[in-house]
Amino acid sequence: MGSTDRTSECDSRTRGADLGWVFLGGLGGTALRWSAEEAWPLHDGHWPVGTTVVNVMGAFLLGLVLETLVRMGPDHGVRRRIRLAAGTGFCGALTTYSAFALELSVLGKGGHVVIAVAYALVTVLAGIAAVVAGIALARRLVAIKGGDEA
């Protein structure tokens, strides 16, 4: 908590600390994603449930976190650290585009074209709906501090 409100000129110490917050969040996000993949193991020719769950959940959380932080004030100090750890680190690592792309390729190669197309559409559309819902929830729950934004 405290007094590092020097935003634009990041010295090497604060940049190092930024990387530390992203790393910590990234560990948590990766661990939770791995747990989801263990809970819903991938089977040939079936819907990749684990990746769907983490991607949609992470999209909702990121929309909620970023909108909440913006409404609470400028990207300084503790708000910046929360954005880096919870947003960039945790939500960023919880969700994955590479596994999504790989699962689509494997479904396509295995001839499961209908599942692949449905998986792609559902992931992208549910992801967008989840972000919009996360932002909307933050708008309902958090009043704008400072009043310099519309």
Binding site: T88, G92, A99, I128
Partner: protein
Amino acid sequence: MTVAALIIAGGIGAVLRYAIDDAVRRRWPMAFPGPTFVVNVTGSLVIGLVAGLVLYRAASPEWQAVIGTGFCGGYTTFSTSVVETVRLGGRRGPVYAGLTFAGSVGACAVGLAIGWAL
């Protein structure tokens, strides 16, 4: 053991994503489609390559767990990509989402093909 390595690899992937995002934004602040696109496409290429080596060249599945699930999973991000899509809105949002989707799936297919050809 593999799980610990996988989780640490995910943290490293997230840090690399942040470093690339930061570097690209400083140099080309107006770039479209932007750093998250670059991260997702390159990460999809790597996961395809590793999966290809495991599928066609009998590389150890632990490589796929640590580099694919761990590193590439932490490095690439679906959530940021969707938030950027929603923020862009209008015509640019769907174009961005389409480019990211086609770029990532295409790069993954290229990675798989390289793994097969090696």
